[in-house]
Amino acid sequence: MMRWLRDMRQRTLLAKATRGDAAAFRALYGELYPLVFPFFSRRVRRVEDAEDLAARVFERLLARLDDFDPARGPVATWVLSIARNALIDFLRTSHEAVDVASLAEVLPDPGPGAHEALERGEEMAVLARLVAALDAAERELLVFRFGDGLAHAEIARLVGATPAAVRKRISRTLRELKNERRRISATQRHEEARNDRGNAAGSPAPGHEPGSAKRSSHEGAHHVRI
């Protein structure tokens, strides 16, 4: 209901702006900026690029105010489709997308204790590597859903699929990520236990020095763009 109310409000503002109401355009900008800038900041490496891209989207919006077709979905989704096209154009000529595998490193964990923070950081690192290894289309769905916070129907409009298909693909990807993380975690625990036994016997297993399993979880990180 809130999404619907928001769209009704934005449609009203857009209609007023189309008729020349500058205040309505400003209000519409105020509603859309928190959607558009973060969209880019999640996807391109440099904040300056995200700002330029956001400016480009609003310039296009200004030039195309009367192009909005109410029958084709919410205002916000329409603007995001402009943003998505701008991003595609940008990435076509640039390699400055966010490196997914690095996200775990740049995002500090607000966990309560140092040990928990370390574990959560490792969890994040593992997940980031798995996400980086995903197919680009699946990764895009995850960013739409968990980064931009879009509903399945909104994502569906953007990627040209049905909401049911989007929901299914996201669920399947989450399930696969969870299973893979569990498998990696179990392997790590198994190796650590083996190393502990080796240490207790005074003869570490060759190639399995203490901490080697932990380090291996950071090896071979994929560098794939969102």
Partner: protein, 317 residues
């Protein structure tokens, strides 16, 4: 410790902050360009400045008689009802809801299917709550279910889901108001007048002026009216239960239509309502003893009634 994928992903994809001042600088630049833009049609409103954001929270509304009164002149599509009559003995199609091929992309919020089997055949009534429906759904339905090829299918503008349709109607009307130009008292009178013009009286209108996080004034509008919910047949969509949820205030009275084969009527909270047989065997009178929500459930042969048609046919006294 094993954090959820959803939580970790939300943190992983957290947005970064823009350079301080970027948002304002871009706004100034855009507004400067906007001033040079040729409007599509000159604005005739007397509003000089549209300062606040109208954040409206509209709670829907309605009394009995308005159930089928969703105005047709509104642009907002409420939905559609589909009536299908099957000959005696004809099986009810499976996966009927999916046969419409509607999704959230159609603005689909709910599909409620009610099946009533009688000697003369089986009536299927479908309520589709959606914003963006194709002009005709019957061809899609017939294509998906060949057994319906020669069966009469009637489509009508939806009037069953009173809560949603009236909510849309009220919201549609009120979003057009420029409350920012009015004092709180004037704004309240304007909203009440607009509601009255829509046939909605007695609503509780609250207008609140606050200052938003960005320092700009905001106007919050809340319209609420106690509802007697008509035809809010919870569970009707799956055909497993026949129940009606009634939102009542003391003194309210409603009549509930029940299926002909109902063997037992259960009322969730007898302290709220008093249920007595009405003038005909297929009607009950529900009288509210206190404010609250009462659920009336109907059983046939000891089981929750299937194919139930429950509806409130009269509102408050």
């Amino acid at each position: 410790m094993f954090g959820s994928e959803e939580g970790l992903l939300a943190r992983m994809f957290r947005a970064r902050e823009a350079t301080p001042g970027h948002r304002q600088a871009l706004e100034n630049e855009l507004l400067a360009r906007f001033q040079t833009r040729q409007p599509i049609a000159p604005r005739s409103s007397v509003t000089k400045r549209y300062r606040p954001l109208i954040a409206a929270s509209l709670l829907a509304v309605v009394a009995a008689g308005a159930a089928a009164a969703a105005p047709t002149h509104l642009d907002v599509e409420v939905g559609r009802s589909i009536d299908i009559h099957l000959p005696p003995g004809a099986p009810v199609p499976e996966n009927l809801g999916e046969a419409f091929h509607l999704t959230e992309a159609n603005g689909l919020r709910k599909i409620a299917i009610r099946v009533t089997a009688e000697d003369a055949g089986t009536d299927i009534h479908v309520d589709l709550l959606a914003n963006d429906l194709p002009a005709q759904l019957a061809p899609t339905l017939r294509a998906a279910i060949p057994a319906l090829a020669s069966v009469p299918i009637e489509e009508k503008p939806l009037s069953a889901s009173v809560r949603t349709s009236m909510g849309k109607r009220v919201a549609h009307e009120l979003f057009d108001l420029d409350l920012d130009t009015l004092s709180v008292e004037e704004a309240q009178r304007a909203v009440e007048a607009r509601l009255a013009a829509q046939g909605i009286t007695g609503a509780d209108v609250k207008i609140e002026r606050t200052t938003g996080a960005d320092g700009k004034p905001e106007t919050k509008l809340k319209v609420q009216k106690r509802e007697i919910s008509l035809g809010e047949t919870e569970g009707a969509g799956d055909g497993a239960h026949g129940m009606a949820a009634l939102h009542l205030a003391p003194g309210d009275r409603a009549r509930v239509r029940i299926p002909f084969d109902a063997g037992r009527i259960d009322v969730e909270d007898r302290s709220i309502v008093d249920v007595t047989p009405s003038d005909t065997p297929r009607l009950l009178t529900v009288r509210a003893l206190a404010a609250g929500k009462a659920t009336v459930q109907v059983f046939a042969a000891g089981e929750p009634a299937r194919s139930v048609s429950l509806e409130v046919v009269a509102g408050a006294e």
